[in-house]
Amino acid sequence: MTSNSQVAAQFSLRAVLALGAACVVVGFSLFPLYIMITTALKSESDIFSWPPTWTFEPTLQAFKNAFLLFGGQNVLVFLFNSVLITAASTVLAVGLGSMAAYALARFPFRGSKHLAFFILSTRFAPPVAFIVPIYLMFRSVGLIDTHLALILFYTSMNLSFVIWVLRGFFADIPIELEEAALVDGYTRWQVFLRIALPLVRPGLAATAILSAVFAWNEFLLANIITQRDAATIPVYLSGFSASMGIAWGEYMAVGFFAVAPIMIFTLFLQRHLVRGLTFGAVR
């Protein structure tokens, strides 16, 4: 027979062990990000030192180099392209996708379920399979190295996922509210915009964040269909090998700006992300 105090002691030991183990996991998750930030803040001699230095005099030289003079290429243009393309494709994907998702959830027709599933399955295709045809297509209509090309591609990639996930969210809200609004004289568009959309706000937030992250992080297609004018941050970073492996600090500094905004977003908006990440399969 264990007494109550023994149970409490056991429990707290288990809690401490669990917390300790969880801290180790968090350390492993954060370690590469820590390396990224410290490398960006190190002087060149510290970056190449052996053994690696853990205490060092932080300097902003790498940030200055990266953003003010480095390589004659202006990183800020790449950042601007990334922001513009991410914002436009996210708005388009969530805007168009929410309409389609609502229609598929509320006005089912024969085969609408198959259509929804077919739309989802396009998301499983490896992007690399698209590089050849998309490149030739965009080249033939003069869209190579334009913002529009990437906006279109990311919108399409995200649409399939937005439609599938939001369709589940719409199906979850009771239809009675919308019927009542129809009786009150709302048009169908008003019902969609004023009743249904506000009710799936968590779904909109989750799909918008994940669409934005996808567009922001996407590298392969951006690398193929942009060269200079519309190239995004991942394309800039992939040029590292061209720096002959010496500009570590500068690239880490840019990498910090590529990762930080997304980190801040996800730290605060984690609810419903799982449902989006698993295409609605796990809630």
Partner: protein, 292 residues
């Protein structure tokens, strides 16, 4: 009658813009890839010539393609295995109800959102043979320095490790959410039936988690199959082709060797492979059915 027609009109207006975009940017390129793959088609070497299944025939006899398939299979197998086993265990760890655990969990999953190119850049630095921190750690443990990205037998596993850093938290997050959604009464019933913790785990928890387990494995297989960023940043397919996964080989064929017809044949083969695989997998799990 008018009512139904109005409904159909609205549904059409709402769906068609999305369908239009998806058909133009998603479906058409696939058909176009099939068309390209039936031609001898390369940059700057005159007009494409129809060649039937020549590219596919070549693909069949191409040893490098076979190697890339094997490398991809190896990468997917080890990455998903590692990510699943560790992620699954971590889900139970983060499910322990203690104050502060939720915050730790939210920080632990941050790697999921890191730009893959940046992940590749940082791990490239950490794996460096001359000044990388990982080599420093293993020399502390008394080992010799290892050429993590240059050793023929090690390079692929270095990429697996970097991939696992990013995606193990994903498995953890999904399995954690699945654990949370298990109803409490099942456990009460198990307790009343006198099952011990071990039995409860195998006979109650695992069967109830099965759909989520299948989904997370499917998503990881499909996603790790398309991984190219880590290879791009860390090894460029080397050393001696040991990390040349299919996406990298396709990329090199299309945009360095400029053999578009051959690259398209590879693309079509990949699409067929993924489609068959996901359809088989999904028909067994039924992801298409549980979403109403």
């Amino acid at each position: 009658m008018k009512y139904f027609r109005e409904k159909r009109r609205i549904a059409f207006a709402m769906i068609s813009p999305s369908i239009l975009v998806i058909v133009a940017i998603n479906i058409f390129p696939i058909l176009f890839a099939v068309y390209i793959s039936l031609h001898l088609w390369s940059f700057g070497r005159g007009v494409p010539r129809f060649a039937g299944f020549l590219n596919y025939e070549e693909l069949y006899y191409d040893g490098r393609f076979g190697d890339a398939v094997l490398t991809s299979a190896k990468f997917v197998f080890f990455a998903v295995l590692l990510e699943f086993v560790v992620g699954f265990a971590l889900a139970f760890l983060f499910n322990v109800k203690v104050r502060g655990m939720a915050t730790l969990r939210q920080i632990a999953v941050l790697p999921i959102m890191v730009m893959p190119i940046v992940a590749g850049l940082v791990w490239f630095y950490m794996f460096n043979e001359n000044f990388g921190v990982i080599n420093w750690l293993i020399t502390l443990l008394g080992s010799e320095k290892v050429g993590f990205l240059t050793d023929l037998d090690v390079a692929l596993f270095s990429i697996v490790l970097a991939d696992a850093w990013q995606w193990t938290p994903f498995v953890m997050l999904v399995m954690f959410a699945a654990l949370q959604s298990l109803p409490e009464y099942v456990y009460e019933a198990a307790k009343m039936d006198g099952l011990n913790a071990w039995q409860t785990f195998w006979r109650v928890t695992i069967p109830m988690l099965r759909p989520s387990i299948m989904i997370v494995i499917l998503l990881r297989i499909v996603d790790s199959f398309k991984m190219i960023e880590l290879v791009f940043m860390m090894t460029q397919g080397g050393p001696a082709g040991r990390t040349e996964v299919l996406p990298w080989y396709l990329y090199v064929t299309g945009f360095q060797a400029l053999d578009l017809g051959f690259a398209a044949a590879m693309a079509v083969s990949m699409l067929i492979l993924v489609t068959i695989f996901t359809q088989l997998f999904l028909s067994r799990v039924g992801i298409g059915n549980d979403n109403k």
